[in-house]
Assembly symmetry: C2
Homo-oligomer: 248 residues x 2
């Protein structure tokens, strides 16, 4: 039933946080795939169920944990036939271990995907992190960067609150001039503190950042890095599958 | 675990034909939803597995049937928890009855969604259909239109081949000026034949049609109509669910 040839493994994408981020990652997976025809694309199952408690609210002690809902989604993707998984939400990676345990199969970590692109860029200097207050508080990006010898640089709490969080809220509400102005300010601050690389670790941010705001900086769109890592993993696992098939 | 309040039913979206069309429908579902926050959006499970035989090739007797793969996808969406379904591919609706049988739950038909918007528009005259040769040959749009008293108008086979199919191929390959020129020609021909309404029944077409090409015509983007019908159905079924919950 499934065409032979390109045997990809099936990605399960845990999403809905929000649905726009899910569509963004799915679109980036498609654009990151070298494909001459539909059948060359990576098979993806998507769980885009937004009825899940807010991740940042939970991390800041203002709301219930999304863990049980994340596990529900993971189990649904397993039942549907996912071979490996990814989480289409930066902040939700705070619950990565719970998802991986429930998945019982590989789960690509967005921070690993990002740090791997930063390593390949060979750019010296600190790495600035633009993300929600929840992602910053969780600390998984900072840990992934330090584990590879990079110095993370996060805005101080007052700037996070008055500039970054406000920029993300403006972008979510479609107030683009305000979002762009605030983000430009945050980028200047991180640049002044020595960041030569910038992680855009929230879906709304790539839409609000213009190239001219980041002159000389190496910019990593976390969703794009995750998408590329998913495509690479689907190919790599598929290759193993093809070799096994040839041996039979 | 799932937040109470807006209790939507979960949509299962059968996609991958191609993946770009799936991302298009998912994005349109999000934009068609009146939502103040993530949790207001429709829960969607997506089966985007492009390793499925080409639908038009099958319909033109040039390749194997996609029916078994469509049924596989339907069953995967059932296992994952879909309450109702939709197919993110015009041409695949040729196998609608097989999908509906396998789904064993409501499956929104894209032609019903389109014809319902045409009926609401109160626009007289014939209804032009721009679609793949496979969709035209299957005839489900023509039947859905006639069942509601509308006269379908399809390009004659030579025009379909030399203009419409070529426009879709150009759009798929990113040759936009050529795609736009060809589509404008097809629209002129359908207009000359009396069409006052135009169905864009292939994902690539809305991207290649400019408003000024269709002066005075009522244009229906089939993917957008499907997205709106999915959101309406999720709300309607959710309302019934809420009323039942209130009775308990």
């Amino acid at each position: 039933m499934i065409e032979r040839g390109n045997r990809y493994r099936t990605l399960g994408l845990l999403g809905g946080m929000g649905p726009g981020a899910t569509a963004d990652v799915l679109t980036k997976i498609i654009s990151a795939t070298p494909a001459a025809r539909d059948q060359d694309h990576v098979p993806v199952l998507v769980h885009c169920v937004p009825q899940i408690p807010d991740r940042t609210d939970a991390l800041l002690g203002r709301g219930p944990s999304p863990e049980a809902a994340l596990i529900d989604g993971t189990l649904a993707l397993r039942r549907a036939g996912a071979d490996f998984m990814a989480i289409a939400c930066n902040t939700a990676h705070h619950w990565y271990e719970a998802v991986r345990h429930a998945a019982d199969r590989p789960v690509i970590h967005i921070a690993d995907a990002v740090v791997s692109e930063i390593r390949a860029s060979n750019k010296p200097g600190a790495v600035g992190l633009l993300a929600t207050a929840g992602t910053i508080k969780s600390g998984f990006y900072q840990r992934a960067l330090r584990a590879e010898g990079f110095a993370p640089c996060v805005p101080d709490p007052a700037i996070q609150n008055a500039v970054v969080d406000k920029a993300i809220a403006s972008a979510k509400a479609g107030r683009w001039p305000e979002a762009r102005r605030l983000i430009r300010r945050a980028i200047e601050i991180l640049g002044d503190e020595g960041s030569h690389t910038l992680i855009l670790a929230c879906t709304e941010l790539p839409l609000a950042v213009r190239d001219r705001d980041c002159e000389g900086m190496f910019i990593v769109d976390a969703n794009m890095a995750l998408a590329r890592a998913c495509v690479a993993a689907a190919h790599e696992m598929g290759r193993t599958l093809n070799e096994t098939a040839e041996l039979l």
